[in-house]
Symmetry: C2
Subunit: 189 residues, 2 copies
DNA sequence: CGAAAATTTGACATGACTCAACTGGAGTGG
DNA sequence: CCACTCCAGTTGAGTCATGTCAAATTTTCG
């Protein structure tokens, strides 16, 4: 029963867990699969049971930029498009084989109605995501590429273990060459 | 009755508006006043009736960076510190004389209890703030300083009218000199 | 093993920064 | 009403971090 795992912080009855679980649908994808494309509707948000994904987009020059990663026990979607019923402004790609549990917005709302505690759970989740975006902006304003890389490693060691360096570079806003030079500099210390 | 202005989108009774209004306290400050300092408790969030403010911090080199501006009809606080009862990680400064309406977290929660519709109002507000942070990250990743400046002007013309160029530079993550050169380049087109 | 993918390295280009000097406008006070 | 000061903004010259492009090397994986 996946809901126990997803909402493990919440004190709910077996019936409530069952009811929530019935709103999730398990899906699996292979490494390299794109499960959401820019311009498409965003029917789902996904809970990651296993594997690793990222959201990314291409700028006018065709360069890829990564907005977010998701590893085990995280959520992923084009969140603002998902909640506002707009089309996606970024792609979601599986960096590894993944097992996901997805739900629609209607299902989310129905859970809110049936099990109100879940709404606070998601509000806290949004607040944490908001804080992490804020930290990223502050870090972009104040820190060098090397400092941003170090704080990435410190904050998301689990992500570092699962993604390629060029993914990290595209998340930090630097080139793979620059990241490689930073790593060399750090190694020789 | 300030609540009518603040929550003008909501369909509430006179009693509800009164009840909400009783939780706000009006305060005024002069241009240049710092109304929250890094390291302090964050007792309030503020609704801006008039004037302009910003949140900012200093990096290790003493350089100032602006996270957010707030003009008429916006809200401002160190939001993540406010909701988590942590100490401020940024300062709030009045860029002009301001008239504000402030509330504590306890007052916010009491309004949630008495007038549940207000909770959705704040959730949407948080979602929009989240989306705007996201846009800023995307823009940092993909756009040049000049493009970021142009999209700032387009997105926040009201802010542009009320702040100095060096405030804008510290928001965009560039120096005043660079902003000046960008403006010159744009003027000659 | 061999091919493709990822990373590293080198040489060079460039956008933004630093520091210092200068300009122009908005007060202020004699 | 002028001289003075202060502040914001501009300009110039030199520097630095990061980007670009091309090639070499290492790693991954079928």
């Amino acid at each position: 029963m996946i809901a126990r795992k997803i909402f493990k912080g919440l004190d709910l009855s077996k019936e409530e867990f069952d009811l929530i679980s019935s709103n999730f649908e398990q899906v699996s994808y292979r490494k390299g699969d794109i499960i959401l494309k820019i311009g498409e509707e965003v029917p789902y948000q996904y809970y990651v049971e296993d594997g690793c994904l990222r959201t990314f987009f291409e700028d006018k020059k065709g360069k890829e930029h990564t907005l977010q990663f998701a590893v085990k026990d995280w959520w992923i979607s084009d969140y603002t498009a998902f909640i506002n019923s707009r089309v996606a402004i970024m792609n979601i790609e599986c960096i590894q084989d993944v097992i996901l549990h997805r739900m629609t917005y209607e299902q989310l709302e129905s859970i809110y109605r049936e099990v109100p505690k879940v709404e606070s759970f998601f509000r806290r989740k949004l607040e944490r995501a908001f804080a992490s975006f804020q930290n990223r902006i502050l870090s972009n304003l104040a820190d060098s590429a090397q400092e941003r890389y170090l704080s990435f490693l410190k904050t998301y060691p689990e992500v570092d273990r699962n993604v390629k360096n060029y993914h990290i570079a595209s998340y930090l806003g630097i080139t793979t060459e620059t990241l490689s030079r930073i790593r060399k500099r750090l190694a020789g210390e």
